[in-house]
């Protein structure tokens, strides 16, 4: 009897509480006035296209007010609403999923009401689109301070883009705080990847088809250590640039640093035979070749080429053009003759980070005024080259007044992730944009959603080298064990000409 009475009391209390909460949350706010302008929100989720499988796009309202009411829906239907005195809009995962499913291929709205002095103002609806094209579910990136030479803590992480889960792939505190860099995956596949370790365990970890080994940081007799990498689609080769890099620091102005090649060559590492193949056309002191990337069929290696550096060369006169060189893996002489695809230097510009779309029709690259470390160049912008026609256009829809640089395509070629410093000019953040291969147009990029919409305001690590992954990396333990292993030596074979 007592138990029953207790149960009734409990249910009654819960009902009262639920009723009370419902009373606090106005389901339908009657606007006293309407505002034609859009409300300011952060992140800028206005007029963007979200993939159907993205995590909730939480945001906060930047307008001042005493109370806020936000509705979210499709067409005439309101699927979720929230009210309160705080401007943060934290969307429950379930409601967000429902919205994404209902809004596939359509627009949806955020409708915002703000109360000031007991009067509600309705702002113009914020319209966004949901693309039925899914984005690769994971994003790998390195987190570190956007510093210069010293380092302390850094790590390579993967973020599940369908929710807010972040998992370390490798953190340097587990390997004696050595430097980790240039993690590179084979076309969004976590089964093939490599990364450099710099420090007492100096070398490069290569993971391919479940086999992990650590190779020497440079080929025996090579001019410099292996630096920027690109996996051949077959997984058998990795193209490496071999760079001698130095940092220089601006004495005035807002640009803090210039990272410049003093020398750079290219080679293709044969993972099976531990040989670095190269050719006098891309190896030698006459020019600097860097940032290799493959065509999807693996028969062309794209790269950037600049004039050789001498001590008399002003750094702001170093400029790189876009080149391509044929590659036939099984030939005795695998390299063909390089040709220039786009001579940016003639226009006083310099190219970096070429990336070919998975269908092989487009090549997206970064262009800045000089040098090739465009992540420190506020003027750097993304350009799209149509490989079928040779036409180059400024991808204005992607760019901002600040740095827009390192980028990678998703496995389907429908999505792009780019590193942009548009929020503050110092910290690179991942932005995503949808790509329409038929029109060659991107949508307005949106910032990686976070559980806390204020996250980026105090997060002082930079997102370095964001790359899509179709599945999570599962080889963390093997990776940790391999780092301390002895290096396998690699030999150098230079093809004469």
């Amino acid at each position: 009897m007592e138990t029953k009475s207790l149960r009734i009391n409990l249910i009654a209390t819960l009902c009262l509480l639920a009723f009370g909460f419902a009373g606090c949350r106005p389901q339908n706010v009657q606007a006293d006035r309407t505002e034609e302008q859009l409300p300011r929100i952060f992140p800028d989720y206005i007029g963007v296209t979200f993939p159907v499988n993205i995590a909730p796009a939480n945001f906060y309202i930047q307008e001042k007010g005493d109370a806020f009411h936000t509705e979210m829906g499709v067409g005439e239907e309101i699927l979720y609403s929230t009210s309160g005195s705080k401007p943060e809009v934290i969307i429950p995962e379930k409601a967000w999923r429902t919205l994404l499913q209902r809004a596939q291929g359509k627009e949806f709205f955020f409708r915002i009401y703000i109360q000031r002095e007991k009067s509600w103002t309705q702002y113009a609806d914020i319209l966004n689109t949901v693309s039925p094209d899914t984005v690769d579910a994971f994003l790998a990136y390195r987190l570190l301070y956007p510093g210069y030479e010293l380092w302390n803590e850094m790590g390579i992480y993967e973020r599940n883009l369908t929710n807010f889960d972040v998992t370390p792939i490798l953190e340097n505190r587990d390997i004696g705080k050595q430097c980790l860099n240039c993690h590179t995956f084979n076309h969004q596949r976590p089964a093939d990847f490599m990364l450099h370790v710099r420090g007492k365990d100096n070398g490069t970890v290569v993971y391919r088809n479940g086999q992990m080994e650590k190779i020497a940081a440079s080929a025996t007799g090579a001019s410099h250590g292996n630096t920027y990498a690109a996996w051949h689609p077959s997984g058998r080769f990795i193209a490496f640039s071999m760079n001698e890099i130095q940092q220089f620091f601006h004495v005035s102005g807002q640009k803090p640093i210039e990272v410049s090649d003093l020398a750079a060559d290219l080679g293709v590492y044969d993972v099976d035979r531990h040989v670095l193949l190269t050719d006098s056309a891309i190896y030698g002191p006459d020019a600097m070749e860097t940032f290799p990337t493959w065509s999807p069929d693996g028969q062309t290696l794209f790269f950037c080429r600049g004039n050789a550096y001498t001590h008399a060369t002003p750094l702001d006169s170093l400029r790189y053009d876009l080149y391509a060189i044929p590659f036939q893996a099984d030939d005795a002489q695998p390299f063909g003759t390089p040709r220039c695809l786009y001579a940016a230097s003639r226009e006083g510009k310099s190219i970096s980070f070429p990336r070919v779309s998975p269908d092989g029709n487009f090549l997206l690259f970064t262009m800045s005024d000089y040098g090739n470390f465009s992540i420190w160049h506020p003027e750097s912008d993304l350009y799209l080259l149509d490989l079928r026609t040779g036409e180059v256009r400024l991808a204005a829809e992607l760019n901002s007044p600040d740095v827009d640089s390192f980028h990678t395509w998703s496995s389907t070629g429908r999505w792009l992730v780019l590193s942009s410093k548009r929020l503050d000019g110092l910290w690179a953040r991942p932005f995503f944009a949808h790509f329409d291969a038929a029109t060659g147009q991107f949508t307005k990029p949106f910032l990686l959603p976070q559980a806390d919409p204020h996250f980026y305001e105090t997060f002082t690590r930079t997102y370095n080298l964001p790359e899509f992954l179709t599945a999570p990396v599962t080889s963390q333990r093997a990776l940790l064990e391999t780092v301390s292993q002895h290096n396998t030596e690699i030999s150098l074979r230079i093809q004469g000409r």
């Binding site: 010293l150 505190r173 220089f248 601006h250």
Partner: protein, 492 residues
Amino acid sequence: MKRKLPFILTVLLFFIYTGLYGDVLSHIIFYHEQHHLFLFSSHYFTQQIETVGWMSYLTDFIIQFFYYPWLGCIILGGILASIYGLLTYNIQIITGKNDWLQLSLIPSLYLFLQTMAADYSLVPVVSCWLFLIFFTLLNLLFSPYWKKIHPFVPEWKCSTKVTYSITIVVIAVYAVTASYLFIHSYNMSEHRMIKAEQAVKEKNWDEVLRQTGKYLDKRRNNQLIYYFRHLALYHKGELLSHLFDYPQPLGVKGLYFPWNSDSRESEYGHFLYEELGHINEAQRWEFEAMVVWGETAPHLLNLARYNIIIGRPRVAQRFLNLLKQSLFYAEEAKRLETVLSSGKVEGLHYALAHAPTHPARFANVMNIGPELLYLCEQDQGNRMAFEYLMCDLLLSNQVVRFVEYLPFIQQFDYPEMPAIFEEALLMYKLGIGEEAFAATGYVIRPQTEQRFARYYQLFQQKDNYRLRKEFGKTYWYYLNFVSPYGNKIITN
């Protein structure tokens, strides 16, 4: 008395510890406060728990109160003293007997001695303290159970007189041992360096001179000490008149830190560049320091200040956002926030604000000489850049270049040519001859010529004692006997 003894000892320890942290160990409180920052935010909480753990998080919470040094002394003294008090209390609860051998003193004294090194983490101290608090609460809860084992604990069978005598002897042994260890492990050099750094941060130049002078009086050499001393000498207007008061065996390295990719040095480079107005370089050093030493208040504040003046308010805002989550730096952050868009920060001079950015010019991070020259050219009237340039050239034996850049002196109102300049000019004159020297337009006072004659006489007599005594503070003596670059003038 037997009940009061632990209490008396706890109070005594508290006063001793607090007194020491307030005086000879005051640098410890300052050092910890400057190298830790506690933030009231969920992100900071999650990050700390995931990376360094609960104890580190709680230690940082406690260290934030070291912002007020007197409070820091009381807190740290209180924690260490209560470690003894709690331990002895627990022994009483568990055994029902007093700790007549005062074994409870050992952990407290041990941890105290450990804290004497500035880079000793306070995490073990706080962990021990928190554990004892928890343990005490647990024991109080289970005290009825403990009482059941009291009869099984052997009785102390000595008379009261003997018991107290033993206790006093034991305490005396602990006190003597602890004092011995304290004196032998006390690092006076570390104390001087940290106190000098504190004074530099407070721009208390007299105190900098006092601390560095005491250090150098012991005939020890340290780059950081010279570096701080030169900064203080400049600000007191005494750099040129007192440069050679102490020998300069480090040469130009006593003036600045060449960039050696050294984590420890990274904390100090920004001081000089900030004072010179070379803000981009100050910003670089400070950012490197933050990377290595973490997001602590001094680094965040300086990075915010530098980025405001460089014209990157959005970057500055990020640093201020962090500081606004702290207890004691939030006000300063809010104050800086009000000048974000102005591009100006009180007390900060951006000497290269109008320097051309095209063609790009890059800093020489190994040798400050070209930077000083550039500052003199771009920021006319930058007296500090001029004096440091002259000192840099003199200390590096580059008398010819010293004479070449001496005309910058016309921008300043020195009442007369500084003595060390005249001494260098005289060396130059000896090198190029009277006629060529006359063409430079410089005149050397007869007293300087006479002093040199005396110097030369002693030099020829190889009377090193008198040379050092009479001329140890001259440029001549530096060039002939101290300079790490040899005893010859470098002409190119």
